[in-house]
Structures are given as C-alpha cells and as structure tokens.
Point group: D2
Chain length 142, copies 4
C-alpha cells in the first residue's frame, strides 16, 4: 500500500490517554487517530461534520476496518496519519490510511465509511462526490 | 463523606482501555466509571437516557466535578462505584460518589449535573424530582 | 461465522462514553468491548493480565483486526460480546468475536493477538497453550 | 482565575471521539485535553514523560481535580487549552487550566499532580523544580 504525498497528513502526538499499562499505545487509539485523519481529509475538501449534520442531516458511520499493527508507538511519539481516498461508489467511501513515525510504518488500514441520513445509509451526495473527484484529479496531476 | 448502603452500587472491572503507560488507571477513567454509576442510579429509579432524550428532549450535562484520588487501581481490579444523591434543586442534581476496591477508597467526588433541553439548563422535571425523593425517602427509612 | 454457546460471553452496557454526536456507538468503542471480551475469555481459562505481566513478563498486543459493522447500537443498549478461539500457532492467538443485541448482530471481527516479552513477540508459552487446548476440547465435547 | 499570555497554550480540535450522543463534548474529554496541555507545558520546560520514566523512574499522577463546565463545545470546534503553574511544593505540582473557544470560556480547573517513583509520591526532583522556577520567573518578567 503506497500513499502518495498528495494525500492528507495529520500530525498526532501520543499522550497518556492513548497508552495502556503495557507501555504502548492501545490498539483502539489508532482507530481514533485514523478517524481524525479522515476528518481532516474531509475538512481539506471543504466539508465539516457539523455543517453536514445540521445542514444536510448527514453523518458518517464506519462500515468496516481492516487494520494491521506493524510496530508499537509509545508516549511522547509524534506520529503522522496519512489518508488517501481509495474509491467512492454508491453509499461507500473507501480510504487507505497509514500511521507512521518518521520512516517507520506502525499501522496500515483499509476503512470503509458510509453516509447516513435518518438512520439509513444513503448514496454519497453528488456535491461531495464532485469535490472528492476534483481533489483526486488535482492530486493525480500534481 | 459517607455513602449509605442504600445508595446505588455498580461493579466495574478494570480493562486495558482504562490504564495508561504508568501502569495505573488513567485519572479520567474514574470520571467514566462515575458516569456509569450515575446512569445506573437513574436506571434504578426508572429513568433511561434514551427515553428521556427521545420522549422529553432531556439530556444531562456535568456542571462541575471535585474529585480526589486517594489510591491507585490497576489492570484486572474489580472496583465498586457508589453513588448517592446529595441534593436536587432548580436545575442542578448533586451527587456524592466513591470508587472503592474492597475496603480501600480509591477516589471520591462531588458531581453536579444539570438537565438540558434545547441546549439550555432547565428545572429538573417534577416527575424526576418526585421519583428521586421517593427513592431517597425509602433509603432513609431502610 | 458461528460462535458456539460454549464460547465466553460478556454483557456490556452502552454508556455516554461509548457514544458520539451521531447518536450511535463510536466505531472504536467496539474494539474496547471486544478487548474486554478477550480479557474475560482469558480469565475464564485462569489467566489475568496483571499476573502474566508481573510473573512472566508477558503482555498481549493486537496484531490485526478485521471488523465489520452491521447495525448500530445506541445509549442504554445491553450488548453481548461473544468470543471464540479460532486458533493459536507460534506467537499468534486468533479470535473470532461478535457483538450482538438480542438476536441482532451489530459487529463481527477477526482479531489476531500476539504475546510480547521484552518488547518482542514470543511463542505462546506452553502453559497457556495447554490450558487453551483443554478448554477448547471441553467445548468441543459439550 | 486569570491565566497570563506567557502560560503554555495548546490548540485542540474536537473530533467524533470527544463527543457523546447529547451532541456535545463528553465531560471527561476535557480532562484528556487538560492532560495534553500539562504535557506540552512540561515539554516546553524540557521534560518528556518517556525520558522522566525511563531515566528517573518518575511518572506523574493526578491527585485532585476541581473542574467547572461553563459552556459546551461541539464537533469541529477548535479549542485552546491554557496551562499555568500555580505552585509546586513538596510532592505536589498545582496547575490552573482553562479550555476556551475564542473568547468563550468552556471549562476551568485546578489540577494537583504528584510525582511518583516506585509507586510512592516523592518530592519533586530539584532539577524539575529549578527549571519550573526559571520558567516562571521569565514569565513574570515578560
């Protein structure tokens, strides 16, 4: 899995809250870091959860995650979350995400997200779709 | 601070998620444990957050916490959360709460909670008030 | 994926801490629930994280998770986590896990865990292996 | 409570993980934000938890928190955590902390922290003390 430089990146510092008694970062913390990464990916494309929710009644829900943990992180580490759109079709937005520390890959994941309205998965609104595609096209040209 | 036997108690097991790299339970985890304790206290009196929210538009928000940490907890500990109503006046419900392991006090707190409707603190609905008082009267007689 | 009745089950109540602003249970909360389920599975077989850590220098780390979210949970739901050993070979213990609410499947996952000593994955100690096998043999006969 | 401009500040974005089903930021999330703030305060003075732990066997534990919640935060909010040393004596370091959104105070807290070595509270090491005092003296002159 290669994530190009044009993808979104987010720096994440490891705090007490992210660790567990084994001395390492708790495995579920990576899902929180990756969710932050997807949120910033969306924000870069002009979308915020609050506006989507209050104006369009849209929230996102994770449909599936396939994550591999490759190396541990510890307190005070500065991590980077890399987020790339892998595809968007029907109701599903597919992301590829990495958590790295410098050159070391700590975790990699495929995450499928669906748009929800009134409690049901709905097709991704065309406006989102278009902005996603435009952003990806720009990335591809870069 | 003495919490009588008639108060609600909730057993809480310490898991990986509750600990941090120092090997102890993370300080904010106790606030989660106490919130669980208040939720069970409410449930025993016939109230559930979901019903209050969907039927009455009521949610609760914490207004203030004064917590002292007396001794540490570690992974696998079985803790007990004790919850007692200290008073309910206007919009504010005041709780006294303890987290203990056997005879050892680990944390004690005063927690003020307010009822919120449409984003604003509101007087505690009479129905809640009456059930709270009835429950306390029964406790006092026991 | 079928998880037999003999597998470990753990009841989990949904609290404020588990939900997010979408009104549903946050996706990473299921990983916490499942970790609780694996901990109780271990405890039933005679192992506790604290003793393993202090006596044998062993802690567990999650190596991979493949989780599918099938239906949402909300505040006050009473969930059940079902945990079954799918295999244990070399350093890796493979679990199959379900989160259900009554008859409804909310999430299902395959989780690979490794035993760690001095920061490195090690073969699962024979003592654990034997107790796991005994437990599984008993399940198979039941 | 006034926190001078010289104190440490940390920007914190509100993500899904920080909110609850009421639509607001969960009350215990503020304790996580403030712990991040104290960690950055320490880092600015040349200390990191990892080095303190591995080189000096020192970890920190929260002894007490008095927090008031003044206004709610919601998803996507950009918050600022302000952290000021209020005093350091014996084993206890006292902080005053604020969480603000622009000009609006959302939460304010007094947090007492102790240094722990081998499971016991110990006097704050002189080296920490001196660096804290130097930093405060510089703040006072500024």
């Amino acid at each position: 899995m290669t994530i190009p430089a044009q993808s979104s990146t987010l720096d994440v510092r490891v705090y007490y809250e992210d660790t567990d008694f084994s001395g390492r970062v708790y495995h579920a913390s990576y899902l929180r870091f990756m969710e932050r990464g997807r949120t910033e990916w969306l924000r870069l494309r002009g979308f915020e959860h609050r506006a989507l929710s209050t104006e369009s009644g849209l929230v996102f829900a994770v449909r599936g995650v396939h994550i591999e943990y490759l190396a541990p992180a510890v307190i005070d580490d500065l991590l980077r979350v890399e987020t790339r759109l892998a595809g968007a079709k029907g109701a599903v937005i597919a992301f590829e995400q990495l958590v790295v520390r410098g050159d070391v890959r700590l975790a990699q994941a495929s995450v499928d997200v669906v748009a929800i309205r009134n409690g049901r998965a709905v097709r991704i609104p065309r406006e989102l779709h278009e902005r996603f595609e435009r952003a990806e096209a720009m990335s591809a040209r870069a």
